[in-house]
């Protein structure tokens, strides 16, 4: 029995309607708006979850985002939500929650055998145990995943609604306690644009039960009045239920706002979470402090909680956490809390490690024992008795709650995220801000200032200074706090006994013994100990446990706290729902999708779409009941025997103008450009500075000083960026201007033996005969009445014309060309068919055969590398490795038995040693069925491949379980002399 109960009329929600909720199949009644944790405590549910490693029972230990143990899964119609801290979800009618990490239930968990076996699970257990044999790793992984882990990944897509927003402000105030409210008020009155964010549904929660008054008002009433005043300002935005999750450089801040917890009513568009991306000039950090737990044996049992949480449930929700409460105090704040708990009717015992202190608890009816500590607990499903060690010796005392006051840890997370350095204050035994951070200032408890009056004064002067920094004049009026005092004291540390059952990190089951062991094994840096033991690596990020961890490590190393220091604080301060990061964007909205000008016509023609980089492109056009392969075969054969039409708008296009363009082209391409005549084009090969193939394409000379460069579709952006960098940083003397025009043009290519006849019907202003318009020629004129640039270039290996027209006339051109090709029954073809055509020709593709490690020699383009001039990457081609004969080189691959199909994604291995580790000779980069040749063909990169044609290897695809004998051949399968494209 917990002895917990509701105190009628107490708390902020007195009068709120009752609601029904369900925990682990048990139906309970709670109060709308209270936290699930409060409702669970009030209903006597002590065991809320099981722990990560040992499956020990876990109850509620905190009251907010610091909660390490009470993790539940909330069942929702939009998909279950795991790892929800019961302390942060607001109760709504019909809420259904389950405890986590237990089977079959948190009350009776069979996997709790881990706890009995815990001597077998020391720090680094997983690293040490599951090493050999390697073949058993998949088994180990399944086993570990079943036993360990937090919650369960939902099996259905999340259907909740999320949103995000950008905003700007002069001043962000993080935290709506006394200091934050005061700072916001000063800034608001000065006319600054202020955003005040607090993670709770109320401001000033820390002032509940405060004995001091502010400007004559009870402290929390003052907070309420300030909140009301702030709401009147047009220049102030108040954000409750909003965590400041991350601070980044130059005033960039991420806020996560909870808009509702209840599932949406049908048709309600209100999102659940909103992500704020803020840019602010100044940030006032008033995030308060978190009470530190105490280290003693079995300090993880349900019923052990921080004193501030224990009294917080009373002050906020009117829930008395237990009937018999043991307060393990080390400062006067704990006595204030004990007094309130006693007045509410609990039987309270205070053990205080100090010699003397506040009498307030004693006067409220609590029994107080000085120079005494809590050292151990007992109780199967929660604390029933506590062991006390005092001047009178040891004894067990009945209690259902142990409220611990270890001292306070300023919440330095936001301060430190951008590089602020916490320092150890030995007098007060806490980490406080050390260096000052640019654009940010800490005030109040998070700055180590616990006296209410002093905190208000600090907030006032900080706000005035911050306003001055943004050229606003603020009045420095600070409210008067009476009867305020520094209640935080220096805290206390337990003398730890039974280090094995003494938990530092409640969520990850890290004990003092684990930290001792890690230090013993040679881990010294706190960052290393953290990763080895998983200290502070849970969803709570060690908000409660980390400072205790530093203390334990300092003791184990025999050094001062300051020598150990803290781990690096990184955003986010609280776990962000994945959904709020994606926000309202559906999967197809995560990057812009580019469509060519003829998109609608392709769609109408029944094309199958393919996501090709940033573009949506027709893969092929299906007719009737054709299979994919049948459609592609038809399209390929039409190009080989007749004529086809393909949309090539996606190719990058850069206009180049200027008298030095030939010099420029000579520098950026490996081959020579000095002899290029007006009206002709040339294929160019572009390298990176390290000699690796970067891009290729045809540049056409349209006029004496006017060129248009064609790049690969995927390289269009990167090539333009690289060329402008060269011109802007290195070659400023070159008179060359670039203009990226990919989107300004629509381009279609006619390809096939009948292409000339089709073009002849619509060409105006230029001749199409072979003599008048030779291969690699470029003409400017009209096609079907549309101003056009026509290039006679070929990727398919057939006679081919690429027709470029202004993008807004793309549909018109596409329709006119199909009309002109009616006598030939010309049909469009897609990217897949283009791939087969180029493969038959043996053309390499950037990203396939040229794959980021490939140089020109590897793909048989040594003849493109000029020896007469300099070009980008030339020096690197002189590296000895670049001409190593064992490099992976481009070869053709055909099945030894032509009726056999090649496996996709195959490695090529030696037939005599197919399974030899490291025995791969190379791999298939592209493969396809060639309808022209009637068998499979492939291009492959093979070690020393150029000298190995005629060799027989095995194409081995272990995942598909296929091995096929193949022959290495020259990479040109079709028309190797190129007669078809130039005739």
């Amino acid at each position: 029995m917990s002895g917990a109960r509701r105190i009628p009329g107490a708390g902020l929600l007195a009068g709120a309607p009752p609601v029904s909720f369900c925990f682990d199949g048990h139906r309970h009644t709670g109060v709308a708006g209270e936290s699930l944790a409060a409702a669970l405590i009030a209903n006597g549910e002590r065991v809320v979850a099981r722990s990560f490693k040992y499956h020990r029972p876990r109850g509620v230990m905190g009251i907010g985002n610091e909660e390490p143990g009470a993790l539940v899964t909330i069942a929702r119609p939009t998909g279950d939500e795991p790892n929800v801290r019961a302390t942060t979800v607001e109760l709504y009618d019909g809420l259904e929650a389950r405890g986590q990490n237990a089977w079959p239930s948190v009350r009776f968990d069979l996997t709790a055998v881990n706890d009995v076996l815990s001597p077998l699970f020391p720090a680094g257990f997983y690293y040490k145990t599951f090493m050999e044999p390697v073949s058993a790793w998949p088994f180990y992984e399944r086993m570990i995943r079943r036993i360990a882990g937090l919650g369960e990944v939902p099996r259905v897509a999340d259907r909740e609604i999320y949103t995000s927003t950008h905003a700007h402000a002069d001043i962000l105030v993080a935290g709506g306690g006394a200091a934050g409210l005061q700072a916001a008020l000063i800034a608001a009155r000065a006319g600054a644009r202020v955003i005040l964010a607090d993670e709770n549904p109320w401001f000033g929660l820390g002032l509940l039960g405060e004995t001091a008054t502010i400007d004559g008002l009870p402290a929390h009433d003052w907070a309420r009045e300030v909140g009301k005043e702030l709401a009147q300002f047009e220049n102030v935005t108040l954000l409750k239920r909003t965590s400041v999750a991350g601070r980044y450089e130059q005033g960039f801040v991420i806020l996560c706002q909870n808009l509702r917890d209840a599932p949406p009513a049908a048709g309600d568009p209100m999102p659940r979470w909103r992500l704020w991306k803020l840019r602010v000039k100044q940030t006032i950090i008033a995030t308060g402090a978190i009470e530190r737990p105490l280290l003693f044996a079995n300090n993880d049992r349900p019923g052990v909680m921080t004193t501030s949480a224990a009294v917080g449930y009373l002050d906020r929700y009117g829930v008395l956490v237990g009937g018999r409460i043991m307060v393990a105090a080390g400062d006067d704040a704990a006595h204030d809390a004990a007094a309130r708990l006693a007045r509410a009717g609990a039987q309270v015992t205070v053990v205080d490690s100090r010699d003397s202190g506040s009498r307030i608890a004693l006067e409220a009816g609590a029994s107080v024992e000085w120079r005494a500590r809590a050292v151990n607990t007992r109780g199967r499903a929660g604390v029933t008795t506590v062991r006390i060690e005092g001047s009178a010796g040891h004894r067990w005392v009945p209690a259902d709650i142990v409220a611990t006051s270890g001292g306070w840890s300023p919440a330095l997370h936001l301060y430190a995220q951008t590089g602020g350095k916490p320092v150890w204050d030995d007098t007060r035994q806490m980490f406080i801000p050390g260096t000052t951070e640019q654009g940010a200032v800490t005030v109040g408890a998070c700055n180590g200032t616990f006296d209410l009056g002093a905190a208000l004064g600090e907030a006032t002067s900080a706000a005035v200074k911050v306003c001055e920094a943004i050229r606003l004049t603020a009045a420095a009026r600070s409210p008067v706090a009476e009867n305020s005092h520094d209640t935080a004291g220096a805290g206390q540390w337990s003398e730890v006994r039974g280090r094995k059952r003494c938990f530092v990190d409640i969520q990850n089951d890290v004990t003092v013994a684990d930290l001792d062991l890690a230090v013993q094994e040679g881990y010294r840096s706190i960052e290393h100990v953290k990763r080895y033991t998983t200290l502070g690596m849970g969803t709570d990020q060690g908000k409660l446990g980390n400072v205790n961890g530093v203390k334990a490590i300092a003791e184990a190393r025999g050094e001062a706290m300051s020598a150990v220091g803290t781990t690096r604080f990184r955003p986010p301060y609280v776990p962000l729902p994945m959904g709020v990061v994606a926000a309202h964007l559906s999967p197809d909205q995560h990057h812009p999708m580019r469509r060519t000008a003829a998109h609608q016509l392709h769609e109408a023609a029944g094309c199958v779409w393919l996501n090709a980089g940033a573009w949506l492109r027709p893969q092929f056009y299906r007719r009737g009941g054709e299979t994919d392969l049948e459609a592609v075969n038809r399209e390929v054969l039409a190009v080989r025997r007749n004529v086809g039409l393909v949309d090539v708008s996606t190719l990058g296009k850069i206009e180049i103008a200027g008298p030095d363009t030939i010099t420029f082209l000579n520098r950026v391409y490996t081959n020579g450009w000095s002899t290029l005549k007006v009206g002709m084009g040339r294929y160019g090969l572009m390298l990176r500075e390290d000699g690796i193939v970067f891009d290729d394409g045809v540049t056409m000379r349209l006029g004496e000083q006017h060129f248009v460069m064609s790049t690969t579709s995927s390289g269009a952006g990167a090539v333009y960026e690289w060329l402008t960098m060269l011109l802007e940083t290195r070659w400023r003397d070159l008179r060359v201007t670039l203009m990226p025009v990919t989107e300004q043009w629509f381009a279609a290519a006619l390809a096939g033996p009948k292409a000339r006849e089709v073009l002849g019907r619509v060409a105006e202003g230029f001749e199409v005969s072979n003599d008048a318009f030779p291969f690699m020629g470029g003409r400017v004129g009209r096609v079907a009445g549309i101003p056009a640039r026509v290039f006679r270039i070929s990727f398919s290996g057939e006679l081919s014309y690429e027709i470029n027209v202004p993008a807004d006339r793309g549909e018109e051109l596409w329709t006119a060309l199909l009309d002109a090709g009616r006598p030939e029954e010309m049909a469009p073809y897609g990217l897949e068919s283009m791939g087969v055509l180029r493969l038959e020709k043996g053309h390499f593709v950037i990203g396939r055969e040229a794959e980021g490690r490939t140089n020109p020699y590897d793909i048989g383009l040594g003849r493109m590398v000029s020896t007469k001039k300099w070009f980008v990457g030339k020096e690197a081609l002189d590296f000895p490795e670049m001409k190593n004969p064992r490099r992976r080189q481009l070869v053709g691959v055909v099945p030894a038995n032509k009726t056999e199909r090649l496996p996709s994604s195959a490695h090529l291995v030696l037939p005599e040693a197919p399974d030899k580790v490291g025995g791969s000779q190379g791999w298939v980069a592209s493969m396809a069925w060639s309808p022209t040749l009637d068998h499979d063909i492939a291009l492959a990169l093979v070690e020393g491949g150029h000298a190995r044609t005629g060799e027989r290897l095995l194409a081995y695809a272990p995942i598909a379980g296929k091995k096929v004998a193949v022959d290495l051949v020259a990479p040109h399968f079709y028309d190797p002399d190129g007669g078809r494209q130039s005739g």
């Binding site: 640019q438 520098r667 402008t724 960098m725 802007e728 070659w731 300099w870 030339k874 020096e875 690197a876």
Partner: protein, 93 residues
């Protein structure tokens, strides 16, 4: 996220920009082949970079803006940006 003041477009968030590396690195080979570099010099140029703590001149390209190259002087520890100018006026690469 950095806030970069593009001399052509004004203050813009970092995600509009692309990073272009150390702007103080001088191309071995003169940048146009006029000063032949040894294999060792060129390999150093390609692969070795300092990782300075503090002020650092670096290239950024305003990829989703004016598409111009810029030289920003940034503190690698605090991320403070001291100056941003057009690359055609600064940088020695």
């Amino acid at each position: 996220m950095l806030l970069i003041s593009c001399p052509f477009c004004g203050e813009r968030p970092e995600d509009e920009f692309g990073f272009g590396g150390d702007a103080s690195v001088r191309h071995q080979g003169g940048g146009d082949g006029t000063e032949p570099a040894s294999v060792e010099q060129y390999a150093d140029y390609l692969y070795l970079r300092d990782n300075p703590k503090g002020r650092h001149a670096e290239y950024w390209v305003h990829r989703y803006g004016c598409r111009r190259w810029l030289v920003a002087e940034r503190d690698t520890v605090t991320h403070e940006i001291f100056s941003v100018k057009s690359a055609s006026e600064g940088g020695t690469g």
